[in-house]
Each structure stands twice: as C-alpha cells, then as structure tokens.
C-alpha cells in the first residue's frame, strides 16, 4: 500500500506492506540509520522516534499508522548543522560509551522535555524507560537536567 507522511520535515510516500514496522522503513527504505534496532518487541527503546511529537517505539509500530503524520528521527531533531539541546547536553556530559542505545534515549528525552520542561529525578525515572547496557544512566540523568537548562536558556 502507499503511505504518505512527513519525515524530518520532508514529504514522503512509500509503497510497502502496511504492517511493516516503521523502523525498517526508516532504516532500510529511507536510509536513516540513526534509529536503531535492539529487540523488535518494544522492550529496549533503541528504536524510539517521534510521531506527531509523541515518543514511540518504531520496531513495533506498523508503518500504515503514520499516514498523514509527522515523523521525526534523530537526524531531524535539529536544523542542519546544529545540535538540539539534548545532543548538546549529551556532548557536554560525555554520555555515550558504545553509543548504540543513545539515539533512542535522546529521542525519549527530547519528547519528555516538551511535556515536562524541568523534569525531576522522579520524572526521569518514570519516563525514561529505555535500556543501556553500558550503564550510562548516571551521566544521562545529569545530561537530561542540563538539556532542560540549555533549552530554557535558548528560548
């Protein structure tokens, strides 16, 4: 089936089985590799991206559901050549180790900050439910607070 949607601000039409997970359309059809595969069962969050501003796990999200919607991946989080406050905070706190899960965490954080501009530790614990095997949570928590501060300073 043909599915029309916007991705990172660009109109896109794909002709594909509508039940194909959005993740594979993003990665293999549109060649945006910033969204990662981790488990295929919405359990780890490596594939997190935004659909109409909501954080979703794209490995378990059929592409037919994005018809007419706005999809944002890590590549589209900020305008060309600039870093989103979340990316900037991640750099300042030197968060990534292996780095594989980080795009999912950054996308989840960016969505969280839209809803709760200054999350408490409790808000972070309750909303950031992705998995990082390297154990970078400690720096991530600092980076989330820092991202909130950068975002406020920029606005």
């Amino acid at each position: 089936m043909k599915i029309s949607f916007n991705i990172n601000g660009q109109a896109q039409i794909v002709d594909i089985d509508g039940n194909t997970p959005l993740l594979w359309v993003v990665r293999d059809v549109l060649n945006l590799k910033g969204t990662k595969f981790g488990c295929g069962k919405a359990a780890c969050g490596a594939c997190t991206l935004h659909v109409n501003g909501e954080s979703i796990r794209s490995c378990s999200y059929p592409v037919k559901f994005v018809e007419g919607k706005e999809v944002v991946t890590l590549e589209g989080l900020s305008a060309n050549g600039t870093f989103h406050p979340v990316q900037q905070a991640w750099i300042e706190e030197v968060v990534p180790q292996c780095g594989y899960c980080q795009p999912g965490f950054m996308m989840a954080t960016a969505a969280l900050l839209e809803k709760i501009p200054h999350p408490t530790d409790k808000d972070i614990d309750e909303n950031i439910m992705n998995i990082c095997r390297c154990g970078t949570y400690y720096r991530m928590r600092k980076a989330i607070h820092r991202a909130a501060a950068i975002k406020q300073a920029n606005s």
Partner: protein, 720 residues
C-alpha cells in the same frame, strides 16, 4: 578506504602506499615475542599485562598521513564503548606532535595487514598498546623530521614538531609536505620516549573522539553496514538445548513474498529475502521437526554445577590444609545464575562472498579469529577474507566468538550477493555465550585475637576460558584450570596464614564463556561477604579488619591504600544511620585494586542503592574522565547482575528471551550519587573496564546485612 597493498617489510622500513588522499603509510614491525600467547597467558595469570600480540613479522600498517595533513590510525583494537580510540589517539598525539583533531581512528581492516591475533578484551587495549604505540608514534615523528630536514636543508636536530608542522624559526612545513613524493624510506631508530610529565594530553580528560558520531546517530555500527544489492537473512535455529535438526519443510517459506532462497544447513535453516521483514516472515513459515535428546531442567544444571562435582584444581595453597572445622568456624554457601550479555546491538554480519573472496563487515571483538573462521568455513585462504571491523554496539565478551558471521558468509555464497544477517533478540538470548552459573562454599576460622586464621574458597563454575576460540586448546592441559573462572577466586589477604582456593569445573550442555570481569563478580561476592560476616563475628570494624590482613608491599600495599581511601572518602560507618546502612567490599583484578562503599535502604521491599563511593588504582589514567565512565558503567552493570539478571532453563530452553522478563538495571535503579576517586599506584596504564565490577555485589550484600541482619547469598539478591 582505497585498496591496500600488502608487502613484507623488515622491522625498520616504511611501506609506501599511494592512493586516494594518501601520501604515505608507515609500516612498522612488531613487538611480539616468539611465543606471545604463552607469555600472555602466564602474565595474565600472574596479574600482569599481556603484551599486544599482533601479526608476527608481517608488514603492519599503522599510520597514514593524508594530503590534508591528518593522521589516520589503523587500530588493531576495536572500539566497543570503553573510550579506547580516544585513549589511543591521546597517546599518538603526545609523541607524534599532532593535535587530537588531526587524528582519525578506525579499526584496521584485515587487508591492511594489522591483525590482532588475540582479542579486544580483558580491559587490555590501552594497557597493552601503551609502550608500542608511543614508540611507533615517536619513530614516525623522527622520520617526518628526517624527511623535512632533507627538503628544508636544515639539520633534523634543529627542527621542531608541533600540531602536525615541522618548523625552524619562521620556516614551516606540514607533515604531509615533508613526506610527499617519497618512494623508499628507512626508519630512524626508535627515539627515547618523553617523560610522562611532558605529555600534554595523556592524563587529561579529553572529550571522546567518537562523541559527535554517537550523538548524531552516525551509521558506524555493524548493524548499519550496507552494500549495493544487499539481501537480508533470517535463520531458524534450535530453541531446545542440544536439539538437532531432523526434517525440514521449506515449501511454504519458499513461496513467501520477497524470498530469494531458502538454505538448509547442518543444524539451521536460513531464509534470504529482499527485506528484513520478508525474511523474518518467511522464517516463521519454515517447518522443522527437531530431535530433542533431553529436555534439560534448571534442577539438572544446579545439580551438575556444585562444589564437589567436576574437575578439581587447587588454585591457591598457602599454609596448612583446612579440612576440619571447629565449632567456632564459619561456613557460607553462595550462588550466581546464568547471565546474558544482552548488549543492545544484536550479533550479526554483512557478508559478500563472490569469486572465492569474502568481505565481511561486523561488530567483533576478534577480528583475526573471525577471519580464520570464515576462511575455514568457505575453504578459502585467509588472505582472501577481508574483515572490516565496525564500532561495536556493546561487547562485554559477547562478541568473542562470531559463528553468526560464518552463517552470513555461507548464505552470501549461495546467492553471490551481499547478505546481512543478524540475530533476532530471541536468538541473541538463546545463542549467547553465557556467563556460567557458579556455586561457592567459603569456610573460615578466627584465631584467639579475632583475626582470620584460615579461609578456604571452593568455587564451581562452567566454562569461561575453557573451550574458547581465543585461547589455544593446549593451554587447558598446561594450566589445568579455567583461568577465566579463576579470576577473583583466590584470597588476596596475605596475612591470613592458611588460605585455600579450589576450583570445581564442569562444562555445561550450553555455551558459557567470557562475560565482563569473568569470575570476578561472583567470586568476590562469595569471599568478601564471608570476610564481612567474620568481621561481624569478631566484633571488628570491617575496614580495619581488612587492612590488618594486608601486607604493606606490592599489590597488597596498593589494595590497602585503595581501601583506606574508600573508607575515608565515603566517611564509612558501621552502624545503621536513619533508614540506611553502608556496605564495604574490595577486590583486586589484573593488578587493579578497587573498593566500593555503598549506601543502601529498603524501599517497598526492594534494595535501593543511594550512593556508591568507588576507589580504583588503575595506574596512570590516560583519560581520567573515561576511567570514571568505566567505573560508573561497571558499577551499574554489576548492580544489574547483582540485583536483577537471571537466565533459567525451562522446558529444555534458556529463558527469558526478551528484555523486561530478563530484568536489568534501568534509570530508576541508578544511584543518586556515584563518587569516584582514582589512586595512582603505578606509572603505567593498567586495565580499567572490568576491575570496578568486582566488589559491587558484595558491598551491597554487606550493607543489607548490616541494615536487616539478613545475609544474602544468592545472586540476584532478593530480600527474604
């Protein structure tokens, strides 16, 4: 990368390579003794640093200077998250006199000639390359000066090097200009290395060189690899332990949309299709009848893996035997479960096999072994297999055997097109090389002064080093012990007059192998919990109790310093304070002592770790910020193993097969504070990535004991 020409060169010659953007390549002979593996193993056993053991006397191409005056470093080690590339770049910069921004690091493809015969692992990348890499960078610097001297007409001794420029007064030349148009080079002798105090970047918290790529989600991982006309594969494997393929019906799968070919092999069936989704859908349509000789149960494994069963080996023997225990002795029994690596990037590979040659891109910790495995499976020469190592989406020992890459290569050979095959998460959990379960009995006796007179640690483990492709088989015969299971198994307190450590080894019916820190976590849990219990029995402060059992010299002296520092920085107190108590534990692994103090409370019936104070003596910290990152990561991974993770056998299968049911530490489990202090007890870099895992489980258990009176003896720890 452009094509690479490999030539044999002698130790003191450069090899010139021309190609796209490349002016010259430095080739350099090696540092390998005649029998590096044996030396490496025995040094490992003795807690020292094995040397880098790369390809023998082959031409090794390490540095390229490009036309835009950058240095491309072909690293024999891969980057799996520990910041290795950054540390190596710092080391190069300080001897080669270039800025870190001018250095690009990538894992060397095997066809460059650099093949690490061992692995990226053991926390050894920086420690083992510390000396050879500085020597190579310094030699390269002197070579550039020598060539610049010829072109500038100034004696090399009067030239200075800085930021990739050679200069004398106002005259300057880039490194690229200095080595342009050279056809045959002779290397100068390796110059004397600079004193450590003169280094500008070594010892500084330089930002990771891969930071930007990882923050923009660049396609740097094996999973992201692509080739033109690439196909995707999904593979059906046995789910039951030991199951063998009996009969297969592939007809339904073959007629599914997008399917190109279905391939039957000895014990798996692969489906090659045009997309990942199509391959996966068709995989589920393959009908297989399995022969399941035995449905293993958890009880089978628990019964098999017990102290008293399997091959016995005494790994430590000091003083007299401790066969009898008087009534005032103490005896505790501990266990740890099967653990999964659970790294987020699944194992997999992209392979192109065509015309008797193979190109394979993947995340692997064993580039050289992957190359050999694929060559053997395809029955071609290793020279015809080029392995391109990518960044790893986590390693932790989970990529030290890459048989899935062989599957990808065999599938590609069937279609003559590139095939990308990676594990589903279920395959990942069922085909992992697990951390083996362990069982321990620790017995001890106090003397009249309330100090430990005797301590005996019996530890049963499945394979860690045994049967591993990264070690020669003969090793086990020579050593008679599993050196991986042994890590942390011996008792480090030199003033205990009578000490025994006894390994009981049993191979299990499923693969077990290296998991970050090997036996260290569980062995330290058993020993340090018992030490704590004995301190309580003796009515002594557990810190002073430990200090009194350590000698002042060598490893023990360094351990002592780490313990003292940890107690002081954490303001360690024995009693319960409010709703919290502290726990103390220490360990030494590969010559690196570590101590943790944790602050714990019980919240809603669960153990909550509020603060961890960590003191580590890893010698010279090349990048202190990344050493801290490794401490933080090790603490959280160790907490995850200590309090959450557990694989079990149910109905003959290893379960669970998905995150969630396989419980792991998450954001909400992360301590509010992790306070790290580095002590420098040696002037060379020592291993970092694993030693801080050692004491964490014991420290938490010891805190819970003081808070609740319960001695928790089984991992993952749960309150009764």
């Amino acid at each position: 990368m452009s094509e690479v020409k490999i030539e044999k060169v002698s130790r003191r010659k450069f090899l010139i390579r021309t190609g796209l953007g490349t002016l010259g390549v430095l080739a350099f002979g090696t540092y390998v003794s005649r029998n590096p593996m044996r030396r490496a193993v025995f040094e490992m056993v003795e807690m020292m640093i094995p040397p880098y053991s790369g390809t023998g006397t082959e031409a090794n191409l390490w540095f390229e200077i490009t036309q835009d005056n950058k240095v491309f470093f072909h690293s024999p080690k891969v980057e799996m998250g520990q910041g290795t590339f950054t540390g190596l770049a710092q080391i190069i910069a300080d001897e080669l006199d270039i800025s870190i921004e001018q250095i690009e690091v990538a894992a060397a493809q095997t066809d460059t000639g650099i093949i690490d015969s061992g692995s990226t692992g053991g926390s050894l990348s920086i420690a083992s390359l510390w000396q050879p890499l500085r020597e190579m960078a310094a030699t390269m610097r002197e070579f550039v000066k020598q060539e610049a001297a010829k072109k500038m007409g100034i004696a090399a001794s009067r030239l200075k090097t800085e930021n990739g420029l050679v200069s004398s007064g106002s005259k300057t030349m880039t490194y690229a200009e200095a080595i342009a148009n050279i056809s045959s080079w002779e290397l100068p002798d390796t110059p004397k290395l600079r004193p450590i105090k003169d280094y500008k970047l070594i010892g500084k918290p330089v930002k990771r060189v891969d930071l930007k790529a990882k923050v923009i989600g660049a396609p740097i991982f094996g999973m992201d690899a692509e080739m033109p006309d690439m196909l995707y594969a999904a593979v059906v494997r046995p789910e039951h332990i030991g199951a063998r393929l009996k009969s297969v019906d592939t007809s339904a799968a073959e007629s599914m949309p997008g399917v190109v070919k279905v391939v039957k092999n000895d014990n798996w069936v692969g489906v090659i299709a045009k997309s990942f989704s199509e391959a996966t859908a068709a995989k589920h349509a393959v009908k297989i009848d399995w022969n399941i000789p035995k449905k293993w149960t958890q009880k089978d494994i628990t019964d098999l893996l017990k102290v008293g069963n399997g091959a016995k080996m005494v790994t430590q023997k000091v003083g007299s035997a401790l066969n009898t225990y008087e009534e005032d002795g103490i005896s505790l029994e501990f266990s740890s479960p099967i653990g999964a690596h659970a790294q987020i990037e699944p194992n997999g590979a992209l392979a192109l096999v065509k015309d008797g040659k193979a190109i394979v891109k993947l995340s692997t910790q064993v580039i050289g072994i992957t190359q050999r495995q694929i060559a053997e499976a395809l029955e071609i020469d290793v020279e015809n297999v080029n392995i391109i190592g990518t960044f790893l989406g986590g390693g932790f020992g989970g990529r030290l055997n890459t048989l899935h890459a062989v599957v990808a290569a065999l599938l590609s050979k069937e279609v003559g097109q590139p095939v990308k095959y990676f594990f589903s998460r279920k395959e990942e959990f069922q085909n992992d090389n697990f951390r083996p379960p362990t069982h321990h009995i620790v017995k001890g006796k106090l003397n009249a002064n309330g100090m430990i007179d005797s301590l005996e640690h019996h530890y049963a483990s499945g394979d860690v080093a045994y049967g591993s492709v990264i070690l020669p088989e003969a090793l086990h015969t020579i050593l008679g012990t599993d050196v991986g299971a042994m890590r942390g198994g011996n008792i480090m307190y030199g003033k205990i007059p009578n000490r025994r450590a006894v390994q009981w080894h049993t191979s299990l019916p499923f693969a077990t192998s290296w998991w970050r820190s090997l036996g260290l976590l569980a062995n330290t849990f058993a020993i340090e919990s018992t030490i704590d219990e004995m301190a309580i029995k003796a009515g002594k402060n557990p810190v002073e109790f430990r200090l009194a059992m350590l000698n002042d010299e060598g490893y023990e002296g360094r351990t002592k310093k780490v313990i003292e520092t940890a107690a002081q920085k954490a303001n360690y107190i024995e009693g319960v304070s409010g709703d919290r108590a502290m726990g103390f534990a220490a360990s030494i692994d590969t010559g690196v002592p570590c101590a943790h103090v944790v602050e714990v409370s019980i919240q809603d019936g669960e153990i909550k770790v509020h603060k961890v104070t960590c003191v580590l003596d890893c010698g010279l910290a090349v990048n202190p910020d990344q050493v801290r990152a490794q401490c933080e990561g090790s603490i959280i991974m160790g907490m995850s193993a200590a309090m959450h993770e557990k694989m079990v056998i149910s109905d003959g299968k290893l379960v669970p097969t998905i995150y969630g049911p396989y419980r792991m530490a998450m954001m909400r489990h992360t301590p509010e504070e992790i306070d790290i202090h580095l002590v420098q007890g040696a002037d060379v870099p020592l291993p970092v990535g694993e030693p801080p895992l050692g004491p964490i489980a014991a420290a938490i258990g010891n805190a819970v004991r003081r808070l609740t009176g319960q001695r928790l003896t089984d991992l993952p720890m749960e309150l009764v």
